[in-house]
Amino acid sequence: MTKPRPIDPTLVPPLVETPQRRFNLRRIKRRPNMKTALIALVVILAAGLLLPFAAPQNPYDLSTFSVMDNRLPPGERSLDGLTVWLGTDSQGRDMVSAILYGMRVSLLVGLAATSLALSIGVTVGLLAAMFGGRIDALLMRLVDFILGFPSILVALVLLAVIGRGVDKVIIAIVVVQWATYARIMRAAAMVERRKEYVEAAENLGYPSWRIMFRHLLPNSIGSVLVVATIYVAHAITLEATLSFLGVGVPVTQPSLGLLVASGFEFLMSGEYWISLFPGLALLVLIFSLNLVGDRLREALDSRRS
């Protein structure tokens, strides 16, 4: 018996478009909030990947800031004469710098975890679809088993065992996410598998790997890639949540989630900036990713119908 899982709202199909509206990238780009989301994403990517070099401080180098400057409200000046526009955290880090660097950690974790999980999931899904039978049953049983656990619990316990670190968080996210890709890939590849051209290729004696990667993969990857867009957002959220629970990235390399978490206790004292600003950055990032993913799905679905 397959166990129910928490339903993923992102995987509920968006509105079915009326058939006469065909997939049209230009039209999608015209959507106002789509445009905003795309612009926001580009800006965030640029900020996260490039701007750290222009940040006022390197928040990972402990000698560049001082605990004497800790918990300064936004707009104050630190001892070095730096104006901290978004305040400082409990260690005296400038929040602007911390957010820029934190964004980079969040993006890195999201992208790395997703691409790894995607590769594993796609391979497993292809194998299951290609060979079917026992192999399929075994792999899907494993997928069901993994998906039966709450992802946050698996990641939490796993990280408790293997310790903290950016690499370890990525591993934990891959462990909980690959199964989703495997399932979607298998479903999509199954459809292709039954098509005539695949049969023809098999009859011609092409090796299995060639059929898998040359025929099944390109024709069924679309839906998986769209889901992957949304799952980047998931991975980033998961990383933030794990860091909030104290098992994510190390305190010396705060991600956005860890910055939010470390401000929790100060929130009650009205020192809001430590949690508020990194959280906003996180929100904009996740929201833009989800928005783009949603529109891509919409486009894909309307092309199918």
Partner: protein, 538 residues
């Protein structure tokens, strides 16, 4: 159907209309963590021990400064090194009105040895050292020990006395092999938690204990001492500091323990509230591995373990600005430490040489030791055990980075930290230690003495420090019954430890209590929040 439903509804909504509010003789206390049981011999855990002091008495008790003072025994003395006599207080009654006698003491000694549910043998262990316990009369107890136990009165202060009346029994005698004359079932955890067996001689008695929702106490009208001002006391667990203080400000609680230090500033000068800040017995310190030649957690140019060098340890101590950490991270609710126990404690250094902040001097020492460019080390700390632990660790790392030592803070949850520390996996770690018994001896014999399982010393010496000169002094000290001599030996041992610095003290945590107007609360070094100590004032 309909009338039925309405009837039920009105019945259900009734409690909303009942007046809620505290009358003058009740005290509502906001606790940071809740007692896990009302059985005083279940788990030696600060909230449990604190609750036990409200419900039960002991032969001896400790005052706010951890000095032993009379409780159920009015006086005690030792003949030679092994025979202790306790003279019991007369006219004491348990909360159910039954008189207290020497039989109850014997019963308690037997119960702690017949307590399979206990989380550890902590309470039962002292009794294993008893050869015989005699009761010449109803109000005298004479204990003969196998080996000298200078700390016996302090151990007795931790052992809550139960009433023999809670079990079926014949003639009670200290005869562990034959069940001491108890014929019925030994008391269980459940029977304490239900209140059935929670009968003591403390200032309060138990009315209700609900896990997660708090403890209700009523004044023990049979209490022998000065009766507390409160007829009713409610102890509520509110784990988050912010809400706990908010509850006090809103008038829901009368007294709260451990509000966040940065938040109590707003109470200062507010006539509606009062604050007590007391240094506790808990020291936060750095522990270093001084025995391994190499470790993957420390990277130096020449591949050696720098912590073996006394100059490096001294440099680390000099690199840390304790005053700033206390001010900026602890918000003033801590005291910089220059030794391992507070000065007021038994056997402490009266005037220790201050551990000063001198980054230039630290750099010089590091260069002398052969590390002019510093080194790289993983610095392990907890993130949910001590006050602001992960932040203190990061601030220390910040100071170390200024003298060239790159310390990567690895902050983890306490369960993982303690497991890994016990396997000596850390080369540099930040720990905490509250010296509850034995004054200065407790830290020194646990952390500094060479590991000797038979003698029970050096169990927390995870860094593998070994100094024969120190060992000789501390082993002599803990076997000395004479208090003056023992204090002197402990001071000598403490001085030796501070000279070589196998561990580096950082600060002593302070405990904070905040309370509403009309209450005076004197804090305690042992961090217990005892409702009986809350005095009603105008």
């Amino acid at each position: 159907m309909r009338t039925n439903f309405l009837h039920v509804l009105s019945f259900l909504t009734l409690p909303i209309l009942l007046p809620v509010g505290a009358s003058a003789a009740t005290l509502t206390v906001g606790l940071a963590s809740e007692p896990t049981s009302t059985d005083p011999h279940y788990h030696s855990f600060t909230p449990n021990n604190g609750l036990a002091r409200s419900l039960y008495g002991a032969l001896v008790t400790t005052d706010a400064n951890q000095k032993t003072v009379p409780d159920l025994a009015t006086a005690w003395s030792v003949e030679g090194d092994n025979v202790w006599t306790f003279n019991l207080r007369k006219g004491v009654k348990f909360s159910n009105g039954v008189p207290f006698t020497a039989k109850d003491v014997i019963f308690t000694f037997c119960r702690v040895r017949n307590n399979p549910q206990a989380i550890s043998d902590y309470f039962g262990n002292p009794v294993t050292n008893f050869v015989k316990v005699e009761t010449p009369d109803d109000h005298t107890v004479r204990i003969t020990t196998k080996v000298p136990e200078p700390l016996l009165p302090e151990r007795m202060a931790e052992m809550a006395i139960l009433s023999a009346g809670i079990v079926k029994h014949g003639e009670i005698a200290f005869d562990l092999a034959n069940g001491c004359g108890v014929t019925g079932e030994w008391p269980t955890l459940a029977r304490f938690n239900s209140g059935e067996d929670a009968i003591g001689t403390g200032p309060f008695k138990l009315t209700k204990y609900t896990k997660g929702a708090g403890v209700e106490l009523a004044r023990n009208e049979n209490y022998w001492g000065e009766k507390p001002a409160w007829e009713k006391v409610t102890l509520l667990p509110i784990p988050n500091a912010g809400p706990r203080l908010a509850g006090l400000l809103a008038g829901n609680y009368d007294l709260v323990e451990n509000p966040a230090a940065r938040d109590v500033k707003q109470l200062e000068g507010d006539p509606r509230f009062g604050v007590t800040i007391r240094p506790s017995n808990r020291v936060i310190f750095l522990q270093m591995d001084v025995s391994k030649d190499q470790s993957p957690s420390v990277v130096t140019q020449n591949g050696t373990n720098p912590f073996k060098d006394e100059r490096v340890r001294r440099a680390i101590s000099m690199a840390i600005d304790r005053d700033t950490i206390v001010k900026r991270i602890m918000d003033g609710a801590a005291a910089p430490a220059s030794q391992f126990v507070p000065e007021t404690m038994f056997g402490a250094q009266p005037n220790p040489e201050p551990l000063i902040y001198d980054p230039e001097g630290a750099k010089k020492l590091l260069a002398e030791a052969g590390y002019p460019n510093g080194f790289k080390v993983t610095f392990a700390a907890t993130n949910d055990r001590y006050i602001n632990d992960s932040q203190v660790a990061q601030a220390i790392a910040q100071y170390l980075s200024r003298v060239g030592i790159q310390a990567d803070v690895d902050a983890m949850t306490a369960s993982i930290f303690f497991t890994r520390r016990s396997k000596s996996e850390f080369v540099l770690s930040m720990g905490g230690w509250g010296s509850t018994t034995g004054g200065a001896s407790s830290f020194l014999q646990q952390f500094v003495a060479t590991l000797d399982k038979d003698r029970g010393v050096g169990r927390s010496n995870y860094g593998g420090w070994s100094d024969p000169a120190f060992d000789a002094v501390i082993l002599k000290a803990i076997a000395t019954v004479d208090e003056t001599k023992r204090a002197e030996l402990l001071r000598e041992a403490g001085k030796l430890a501070l000279q070589k610095l196998p561990d580096i003290p950082i600060h002593f945590e302070s405990t904070i209590w905040a309370f509403r107007k009309g209450i005076q609360f004197e804090g305690r070094m042992d961090q217990y929040t005892l409702p009986a100590l809350a005095k009603a004032v105008k």
